[in-house]
């Protein structure tokens, strides 16, 4: 299927597209912080709002709500834009509060005609000052939320902790996907070697596995840098991290096995068998154990997996091409490595 040279340039071209597009497309407007972040019932508060990629000073029609739930919200009384990313708003928190909770969170929604609508969940925490008043829904319905503006154009979603690092999805996540495809190729050629005894299959298997190990190491590195910015540490006791570390150890052992000076036939056979064994040992490590335990990663412990809001269509425009591009580049690298090994073996046999 992948014959000739076109797919190599295809891989490089798609990766260039991912690199340029993924790095230059701006994020959607969002709210970075709100000061003060707590209030009392019945209080009149002045919120200092810091936005990101917003155009508060150019927008003519800024509306804002503090939302309790889907039917209860209050309107901003006054809005005052002090810059493109800075806004001051006045809110009157109602006297009455929903029953049950001493403290309840309010979500801040801002809408204008340039940036569209965006939300900061749990922006303000309100604690009740008097618990004698019954909940009066009428006080909460003056902010009718309708006629939201929609932002048109391609922008990546704004996520509060991720911010700009959401672009790492194209590299960190895609590297793991590409690594798995390459490992599968390696196992495929290992099986073919065991069946045919053709050394070329052994060279291919080892090249694919080596490139996959490179991708795995890069995946750990990109993930580590990402974790530093989002979880504030390079390494956590997260189950996925530990299982990946074990998986990499298994494959580093494969490299050691290949480095031993057996005769060629024995080395190829042992490496092929170990490669298949290691790949099967990897399946519970990567696909089963992490799913049984809580993890900070998306898709575990109640976090949403791929899809949902974290991977929207604009991210998909670069995420899937990135997997394809990384796989094609990896295949290219593996083939260069195979050709190098082939030439080395030929030269070695001739010089003897």
């Amino acid at each position: 299927m992948l014959k000739g040279w076109w797919w190599k340039f295809g891989g490089a071209f798609i990766f260039l597209y991912v690199l340029i597009g993924g790095m230059t497309i701006p994020l959607r407007p969002g709210i970075t912080s709100v000061q003060p972040s707590n209030a009392k019932t019945g209080e009149n508060i002045l919120l200092d709002i810091t936005g990101y990629n917003t155009h508060f000073d150019q927008a003519k029609n800024i509306r804002a709500w503090l939302k309790l739930d889907s039917t209860h919200a209050i309107n901003a009384l006054k809005t005052n834009a002090e810059g493109p990313n800075h806004l001051q708003m006045e809110f009157q928190i109602p006297e009455t509060a929903p029953d049950g909770n001493e403290v309840y969170p309010l979500h801040l929604i801002i809408d204008n005609e340039i940036d569209g609508a965006f939300i900061l969940p749990n922006a303000v925490f309100v604690s009740r000052s008097t618990d004698s008043l019954m909940f009066n829904p009428n006080e909460w319905t003056n902010g009718k939320m309708d006629k939201f503006h929609n932002y048109t154009g391609i922008q990546f979603p704004y996520r509060n902790i991720l911010n700009e690092t959401i672009r790492n999805t194209f590299f960190h996540v895609a590297l793991w996907f590409a690594m798995f495809i390459l490992l599968l190729y390696g196992v495929y050629y290992s099986i073919r070697y065991l069946r045919s005894g053709n050394f070329d299959n052994d060279r291919l298997a080892s090249s694919y596995t080596i490139v996959a190990i490179l991708y795995g190491s890069l995946g750990i590195l990109t993930g580590s840098v990402w974790a530093k910015f989002t979880w504030n540490t390079f390494w956590t006791n997260d189950v996925k991290l530990n299982m990946t570390a074990i998986a990499l150890l298994i494959y580093f052992a494969y490299l050691i096995l290949r480095g031993i000076q057996y005769d060629q036939d024995k080395r190829a056979r042992l490496a092929a068998i170990y490669n298949i064994f290691a790949f099967i040992a990897l399946i519970p490590l990567v696909f089963v154990i992490p799913r049984l335990q809580d993890s900070l990663h998306p898709g575990n412990g109640g976090n949403p997996a791929l899809g949902g809001e974290d991977l929207d269509n604009t991210l998909r425009m670069f995420f899937y091409p990135s997997i394809i591009a990384l796989f094609l580049i990896g295949k290219w690298m593996a083939e260069i490595l195979t050709r190098y090994e082939r030439l080395k073996d030929q030269y070695f046999i001739k010089s003897k």
């Binding site: 298994i250 580093f252 052992a253 096995l257 031993i260 068998i273 064994f277 040992a281 399946i283 089963v288």
Partner: protein, 216 residues
């Protein structure tokens, strides 16, 4: 079935003919336990569970490293003509599993002698331990065959096998911690099931791959 029994009995005879290796392995574990007793004097339950499995793991490594290297090459050629490889590996696996379990029981005995026996849920403890030890012996037996080589010795064996047995060790440590009531986990059955699943996957892989390895 009969031939699997023959292989099993043969392994047993070979083992008892070389009493020094057998005694050496048991003495090794006894010495390590005693050393730990002298160093720590008293251990907490957490340390007890960790030490138990670390000692078991390294004793098992030492015991199985020679699984395929204790006999001469010519003998293997003879076996090759005599047995089906699948029968041979099953016989070996049964023998090695029982051997490591015996080793584990000995270590447990020494540890309870010196450091006490804090296990509360014995059913879970021994059940999970047996499953884990079966997985350990499967992986170690297979890797010992891969790493049989005159020049590398046991280094390659530990390098190749320790990452592979890590998931089993982690599950064993967890089930042990639960059986010691160090942590509570209502879904510990899931972990035991996972242990059994890993065993089954490994056993299947070994049975599929062993014939092609055996040919060399």
């Amino acid at each position: 079935m009969n031939r699997i029994k023959e292989i099993f009995l043969k392994e047993l005879r070979v083992e008892f003919r070389q009493k020094y290796t057998l005694g050496g392995i048991f003495l090794f574990s006894a010495t390590v336990v005693f050393l730990i007793y002298k160093v720590f004097n008293t251990v907490t339950e957490l340390e007890w569970s960790i030490l138990l499995w670390i000692i078991t793991m390294f004793s098992a490594l030492n015991a199985i490293v020679k699984s395929f290297s204790q006999e001469k090459k010519g003998t293997y050629l003879y076996y090759y003509s005599l047995f089906d490889p699948i029968e041979l590996i099953i016989g070996k696996l049964i023998y090695n599993t029982l051997f490591i379990f015996l080793l584990f029981a000995a270590i447990l005995l020494f540890m309870s002698l010196f450091l006490g026996f804090p296990v509360k849920d014995t059913e879970l403890f021994f059940g999970a331990s047996f499953l884990g030890i079966f997985g350990l012996s499967t992986i170690l037996t297979f890797i010992s065959l891969i790493s049989t080589s005159d020049q590398t010795g046991s280094t390659l064996m530990s390098v190749l096998s320790i990452p592979l047995i890590l998931p089993i060790m982690l599950l064993l440590l967890k089930t042990t911690a639960v059986s010691l009531r160090l942590i509570t986990d209502t879904s510990i059955d899931q972990d035991v099931l996972l242990l059994a699943a890993i065993d089954a996957i490994m056993l299947g892989t070994v049975i599929i791959l062993f014939p092609s390895l055996w040919r060399s």
